[in-house]
């Protein structure tokens, strides 16, 4: 491609002869620089037994403790998971799941009871989990308008084409537009502690601080700047088709309403895998004396708005504490232990092979 070097003055033929004639003739001798002569000083590592074998042992010795640490940490985390999809006849939510469709207006409620056999000592995080829900499908993922969500007035009125077919409704632009927003998870979950006496105590659920701060501060912004009157701001827009209430009524608090509603923000951060969990609420630890969630009976009241039966999805509620490495995650610990052991084992095998068959003195027999 970059073929045939160019050579000027070919027709001249004045190539010949040592150019020592003119006084100013420059010699064509190449420069004696380390770069041009390919003599740059260099580090020349070789994979020898002296470097490779220790590397394997060191990796083994580092990974196994890390793995054990991770595994122990993960096991110390309290996690409780309850499926409330209601596919089973016996499930309290069975009726809700059967009768529900997107356009029904009356909410369906169901109550699940469960027993925590271990107290949750520190802050408890409440997640909702969905299975078989392809939030990572390409058509789904791109069906949003980040400008609109960032409070851009023009995008509010003219949402991006990516939002189709959830772009306009009845000739009004949808805010927030797109399939992601349209399918926002809208079950309401309430948690009650059932006192041994039988009375129910509602456990306070904190709905703030569940979204990434960057999302809340920068990525999502309500249009109209600091205009507190969201109703006016969203005046000319339509609510997403599946929503029961418009975006400016998501919450009563001004700093959690509209596009900066944290539930909404959490939903808009699409999951990578078809089975995922998203943070729903945080149960703050009140005082140091009592556990956040003591051992005992609890009931979960679900306002069942979100249909998943059509695609055989599952809905779960997860209660979990966290550690320095996040939530319960046995995979990493096991993986580290396995890899560490394999490395160590490989090191032993290599050492054996090297000693038994290795050609340690192999520079002597080089044929020249």
């Amino acid at each position: 491609m970059m073929a045939s070097s160019y050579s000027a003055k070919e027709e001249d033929g004045h190539h010949s002869g040592p150019a020592g004639l003119g006084a100013a003739t420059r010699t064509r001798k190449p420069d004696n620089t380390a770069f041009k002569q390919q003599r740059l000083p260099a580090w020349q590592p070789i994979l020898t037994a002296g470097t490779v074998l220790p590397a394997f042992f060191i990796i083994g010795l580092i990974f196994i403790p890390i793995g054990i640490g991770l595994y122990v940490t993960s096991n110390n985390i309290n996690e409780f998971e309850i499926d409330y999809t209601g596919t089973d006849m016996s499930s309290p939510c069975f009726n809700c799941s059967q009768n529900f469709s997107w356009n029904s207006t009356t909410p369906c409620k169901c109550v699940l009871s469960f027993y925590l056999d271990q107290p949750f000592e520190s802050n408890v995080f409440m997640y909702y989990g969905l299975s078989n829900f392809y939030q990572n499908h390409r058509r789904y993922v791109k069906s949003r308008d980040d400008s609109q969500l960032n409070g851009d007035e023009r995008s509010l009125k003219e949402p991006s084409k990516e939002c189709e077919p959830y772009r306009t409704n009845e000739n009004k632009p949808i805010a927030p537009c797109g399939a992601i927003a349209n399918s926002m998870f809208n079950d309401t979950l309430d948690l009650f502690y059932i006192n041994p006496s039988g009375s129910k105590t509602q456990i306070p659920l904190n709905k703030k601080g569940i979204a990434w701060s960057t999302d809340k501060r920068v990525k999502f912004r309500n249009p109209g700047g600091s205009n507190p009157n969201l109703t006016a701001v969203f005046k000319d827009t339509a609510k997403p088709v599946n929503w029961h209430k418009p975006v400016y009524e998501l919450d009563s608090e001004a700093d959690n309403n509209g596009f900066i509603n944290e539930d909404f923000i959490v939903w808009m951060r699409t999951a990578a895998l078809p089975t995922f969990r998203k943070l729903y609420r945080i149960i703050q630890k009140n005082n140091n004396m009592t556990p956040t969630l003591p051992r005992g009976n609890y009931s979960l009241e679900v306002t069942y708005n979100y249909p998943v039966r059509s695609f055989e999805g599952r809905k779960r509620v997860i209660l979990s504490t966290i550690s320095w490495m996040g939530g319960k995650n046995p995979f990493l610990g096991i993986a580290y232990m396995t890899v560490g052991s394999i490395c160590f084992f490989l090191g032993v095998v290599l050492l054996f092979i090297h000693h038994k068959y290795g050609n340690r003195n192999n520079s002597s027999d080089i044929a020249s």
């Binding site: 260099a42 994979l47 995922f276 969990r277």
Partner: protein, 1229 residues
Amino acid sequence: MALRWLWMLVPGRGGWNPCSKSPGQALEEERHVRANDRDYNERFNYADNRIKTAKYNVFTFLPINLFEQFQRFANAYFLVLLILQLIPEISSLSWFTTIVPLVLVLAITAVKDATDDYFRHKSDQQVNTRQSQVLIKGKLQNEKWMNVRVGDIIKLENNQFVAADLLLLSSSEPYGLCYIETAELDGETNLKVRQALTVTSDLGDDVEKLADFNGEVICEPPNNKLDKFTGTLYWKDNKYPLDNEKMLLRGCVLRNTEWCFGLVIFAGLQTKLMQNCGRTKFKRTSIDKLMNTLVLWIFGFLICMGIILAIGNTIWEQKVGSSFWEYLQWKELSINAVFSGFLTFWSYIIILNTVVPISLYVSVEVLRLGHSYFINWDRRMYYSPKDTPAEARTTTLNEELGQVEFIFSDKTGTLTQNIMVFNKCSINGKTYGDVYDEFGHKVDITEKTPCVDFSFNPLMDRKFRFHDSSLVEAIKLEEPLVQEFFRLLALCHTIMPEERNEGELVYQAQSPDEGALVTAARNFGFVFRSRTPETITLYEMGQAVTYQLLAILDFNNVRKRMSVIVRNPKGQLKLYSKGADTVLFDRLDPSNEELMSTTSEHLNEFAGEGLRTLALAYKDLDEDVFDEWMKKLLFASTALENREEKLGALYEEIEQGMLLLGATAIEDKLQEGVPETIACLTLANIKIWVLTGDKLETAMNIGYSCNMLRDDMNKVFIISGHTTLEVQQELRTAKEIITGPSKDKFSSGLDMDKTELYSSDSVFEETIIAEYALIINGHSLAHALEADLEQILVDVACLCKTVICCRVTPLQKALVVELIKRHKRAVTLAIGDGANDVSMINTAHIGVGISGQEGMQAVLASDYSFAQFRYLQRLLLVHGRWSYHRMCNFLCYFFYKNFAFTLVHFWYGFLCGFSAQTVYDQWFITLFNIVYTSLPVLAMGLFDQDVNEQYSLHYPNLYRPGQLNQLFNKRKFFTCTLQGVCTSFILFFIPYGAFMSAVRDDGAHISDQQAFAVTISTSLVIVVSVQIGLDTNYWTAVNHFFIWGSLAVYFAILFAMHSDGIFTIFPNQFPFIGTARNTLNQKIVWLVILLTTVVCIMPMVAVRFIKADLYPTQTDKVRLLQQATRRQGPQEQNFRRVRRTSSRRSAYAFSHQQGYGELITSGKNMKVPTSSTSTYPLSSPTRGPAGTSSVNNSWVNDTSRDQTETYNTGFRRESDQNQEVTVEDLEAR
């Protein structure tokens, strides 16, 4: 054939063919040119003298260049991808992911093309603005070449280039002769003669007459036949036929002629030179071809993946997607699952396109360019005496230099310097030339050996060196035979002297041997100073002595000797003769028996040292006998029939009973380091074949002195049969001897099977320990190259350690190369210096030209050029090996990297409903190949050295992997792509496992797409960086900078793109705001990255270690050794010394051409004699037999006949002049 390389004389060797377009006019049937009549000539619309080799101008550059670039498969492919991406239903990537790399690639190529074209413009400009003197309106005016028109009369001066194809009108020399050098046209360095018509030569340099000249030439239309021209000149109602002998073609140089006038017949693009320019064959390396195959395979693979995923999509849409439809409302499109699958196929083609790396081709070109520069910059391939650095003229073949298996070398000027040095002599039974120390031991002559002081002689040649002072003493003692010896050397030759200033003698010798002899005589005090047709003037020890030259008994291939008959000032008649010892010894006086045997012994000794020998003899002639003989000679020379034979018989008659004087020994100087280089290359398992136009004896001589032939070889086969049968028989016998009689049974019945066995399995060749050599003569080679014999020729030749082909024509050289290319599938390299090597240089995979010589043809045709044969060793063993090694590592890594990068999408397909969702950020996809990972691998490909240069040279068998194609082949490709696939698998599934249930340490979720993307892409960048670190053997500062820099740049760009600022400006293009911060501050993410990296890298390390430990390659061993010695500190490298064998062979060489004796006696080639020392008037009564005016023209005719022959065969060089094989010559031997 002969014309193939001519296009190179056109400035700008870009493969662009300016001749393909003839400007405007339709078929021209006849050309009418009227001198000095521009108006008339303009009617025909002939091309003017402007040449244009540039492709573009400022306005056409962009469209034409883009059009050309998109003709390339890869670029077109990416254009198609780009178009696909614009379809919203398919588009799985933003448009910029493809357009950014594509634009970059196009821009780099365009810049390169533009630079090339700029230089072409410049060189066009330079050629077009050369000045020439044009006769306009009766006055000579300086005009630029491009303004010269057909029909103009222009004046040329000595050493000027001919501006256009001219009809010679008149010249400064008598008879309207003028001399030209056609080296640039056909590579011949000897001068040629052109002669003007008598009518026009009478015009002389009279400008007025020339301005009035209004002849009209009607001639053939422009064509590319260099040796043919037909036309007629109509002038003053007369018709004069015109032929090629009256034409001066563009590209020639005027020599030895003060001035000449010519009429422009063809100009510019219509000149024969330009008509001869053609397109070169574009050479491609085997890696190139392999790469293309692999890219096609990858395409196949890509389509397979696309189909798998498309089917997956169809099934998914049917099973899952249709029920998930509420969330994915995509109107009616999605309802049809098959159609959705179809669209997904294209979407995945877009996503996965990065397995076919667009930057691959560009990167490969960049690497090769870099390697070429390293060759150009290498000081160890720079030859200071000629100020010639090595030059990589083609930048696309570098890695093939590391795979060469066959070298075809020219002899003269390549292995030898084409310098003849008077080295030794034997005078009257005593040898001179050796140096002895005080104990009488022979001393090796080196640079430091003191030279004989010739300062007694003011006319000496300062470059002449002789080490034995006893010869000078003998001269000073005025020993008569020694004097006679040198007198003979000074008289008996056909050299023309040229004395520019007083005492500054230059000899123009037809053969370098003669030049050496006469120069020796000159330094020893017998200075040949001037000659006229009838006299020769010597300065004998400072005294001017003029001899009357009575006859030259010229050399020819049968006689193998030449003699002169002179009358010395005392009036004695003497015959001096020099020639081949065998020939001369037969014609000696019987009294010389004893001297003859001594001299013969000396001759054997000389020959054993590889010297070229000549015997010298003289004879006193009786006046009467001579007169008698002279009459017969005159009679014979006018004979109409059998003149040659009659003359020959007469010569024979007088050259009898001579007295032996002695013998000379001339060293055909080998170039420096040739035997060492050959030995080293042989150790690298490279087979070296010598293809020479020289004689068998000379070639063998050189073979011995280069150590290619040795006395301890089992047998040297000499094939010199004249018929196909003979040749076949000789080859069969040779093969039987080599393979042994046991194999004989096979050869009759299972000939085909066996030959297949041979050609497929080279192991067999290596099992033959015995060393054989094959020497084949040109005329036998012609038979051996026939279809039915070529197989056996290849078999035998490949079984021999050494192959020498002598007396081969340039075409045969090419055929031999072609033969090996066809039968052995090996990489061939041809090296030569002259025009006769051009064909083989063009044919071989790699052509190397020896530069700094007279002619430029070989260099112009070559891919690499340097000044000395010995640099070949460095070119192949260092540069070639490195290039190959680097290129292979580069390709392996490149494929690995792209597979690891791309296939993650494939795995993700199974978890995202085959929806063609990308794993990574789009910007990451855009930048991965061109920013994050391009520089480290480029640095590796440019600077890596597995073994340093000393060890590369010291262990030539490190070259073997290249020849066996071990470092990059299909298997290697599979290994590295498999590694890439595994890496991608690990890269995807470890984060997958970890992210299944992961949350951040503040409880927020992290298993979202963006965090996932950042984790995987960070792991990927780290893994491929570690991998390139493992692949890099030679970490220079640049490597460090690029590898660490790339990582730093990755993080810098990552954080920049995920920053608040850029999001607020382009919220739609950078949706990853904050992801980097929120992800990379998590310990768990780093733990995942660490785990992924270790799992990807450690298996590779283990495998490499085991391989190197259990089955170390030669390279591994040398590297260990190198490391060990580096620790100990640098050691002196002791270079192999090659022993030179001495054996007794008779060597004879007399590189002479017939016909020059006649030329001298005719006086045609002499200027008006200026020599005042001439004591004899020009009109001397005794004239040489051939000196009659009746034969005056015959030399010109002869020469022209020779030229025709030369054109037919295409090539000839001065030094190989005796390559025309005549049957008589061979029979006489």
